[in-house]
Amino acid sequence: MSNHLKDITLKIWRQSGPNDAGHFESYKVDEISDEASFLEMLDYLNERLINEGQEAIVFDHDCREGICGTCSLMINGQAHGPERATASCQLHMRKFKSGDSITIEPWRARAFPIVKDLMVDRSAFDRIIESGGFITSPTGGAPDANLIPIPKPVSDAAMDAAQCIGCGACVAACPNGAANLFTSAKIAHLNLLPQGQAERFRRVEAMVETMDEYFGSCTNHGECEAACPKEISIDVIALANADYRKAKIKNRKQLARN
């Protein structure tokens, strides 16, 4: 059942620090089980590099179950590699063939500066959430959970959007380096729910405007949706756009801006 791939050539981006120039370096992996995950292949390579006295390749990863959103690799020009709806950590070597050449690059965007090798800093996402990606509900004051019935379709739609793992593949894949899918997924999640209505328009305004400080603009290519490991639909972008419009026009007076 388990086969081995032979002669894999890896072209991996090495960069020693945020302000250093980087370059591609080639590595050969002579043999690897097709049961190995892509990151395990990198582990294997790293162990060899350490044995050879070289510095291991730095890459972000943690849960390896496709849910924490830490892994972030541009594999052969695709965010998270060739498998649909799959984060880098869940990609397996059986998707490749013997003799393949695989190019691995970090996410690239102004808002995602490279930390080292393949690792980038995605704090800009946190800044967006901090600006409004929450429902203000201090601990202790919550009413009974069943007080507000939420229609199942509404709850399901909110859940579809809430699945975002914050990996940044949307930004990485976007030809414009835009973060609209990430931002809108959170806006859609909270703005669809009854609990989120009180801050609905303040939220969308704050989040969209914070996003603007870091990222490019959406021109509706749809690359983000195709790269998203959770297959979040660009419908959420339309929803956020509509809410931003309403926040700016219809609710300008109620917002009491100063």
Binding site: P18, A109, E130, N176, G177, T210, G216, C218
Partner: protein, 253 residues
């Protein structure tokens, strides 16, 4: 290549930053999403223009007098309530303003997007769904704009047109001007090419405007792309038929 890491060390108080207060429209236009609204709304206006322009020009199939009368009719919109040409100029003014805004927004968003990824990918990208139309918007847009300039010089100001039978360019003789212009095959080819570019621009732009404006509803979502394709096809087929008809001698022959 220098990059600055953000979010290091203690992170606080980012949410409380307040934006400078600006007049409403400028405030809206200052964000990328706001600019996309501007592009969508001006896009709708320009869509209306290209559609009616095409429909109006179909008059050439009924002969010179129909087309020339139509041109005269445009000048006399709401005449005598308004002086001759006034309404037309108001419409033109609106169109020019829309085009200016559309182009300004496009340029500033392109700039923004360039700075959003100062270091490009160093390996080849493998795009999944971004198609030729969506990725060439700025080139099809530029093509259409250049064509528009030439088109005005050609048929409105007569600068690039040939001289008519009476030795000068007479703007009111629309039918003659069109036939003389499109009878030159390089002109016809440019005309066809530019209209195909327009079609590609519309193919993505018309669909895109629904997203930008947030007009998204499961009931009509599947019709959005069909509408865009249909609209682009109608405009392109109508417009491209003119040079072909002229070259084939169906019009002006």
């Amino acid at each position: 290549m220098a990059q600055v890491l953000h979010g290091r060390g203690p992170v606080t108080a980012t949410a409380t930053t307040t934006r400078k207060r600006r007049p409403f429209l400028l405030d809206l236009y200052s964000t990328a999403v706001g600019k996309k609204y501007a592009m969508a709304i001006t896009g709708i206006g320009l869509m209306g223009f290209v559609l009616f322009h095409m429909i109006g020009n179909l008059k050439m199939y009924f002969g010179a007098s129909d087309l020339d009368h139509y041109a005269e009719f445009l000048k006399k919109l709401l005449y005598p309530l308004a002086p001759k040409g006034t309404v037309l100029w108001i419409l033109r003014g609106g169109l020019i303003a829309m085009a200016v805004i559309h182009i300004h927004a496009a340029i500033s968003l392109t700039r923004l997007n360039r700075t959003a990824r100062p270091v490009r990918y160093q390996s080849e990208r493998d795009y999944q769904v971004a198609n030729f139309a969506s990725r060439s918007m700025r080139w099809t847009g530029v093509t259409v704009f250049l064509f528009l300039v030439w088109h005005l010089l050609d048929l409105t100001f007569g600068v690039t047109n040939t001289v008519g039978a009476d030795g000068e360019f007479i703007r009111a003789n629309v039918y003659d001007n069109v036939v003389r212009s499109l009878d030159r095959w390089p002109v016809a080819a440019f005309y066809i090419l530019a209209n195909i570019a327009l079609g590609i621009h519309l193919f993505h732009g018309v669909w895109s405007l629904f997203q930008s404006m947030g007009w998204n509803n499961p009931r009509f979502n599947k019709w959005r792309q069909a509408f865009a394709t249909g609209f682009a096809t109608v405009v392109v087929v109508g417009n491209v038929s003119f040079p072909i008809a002229v070259l084939a001698g169906v019009v002006g022959g």
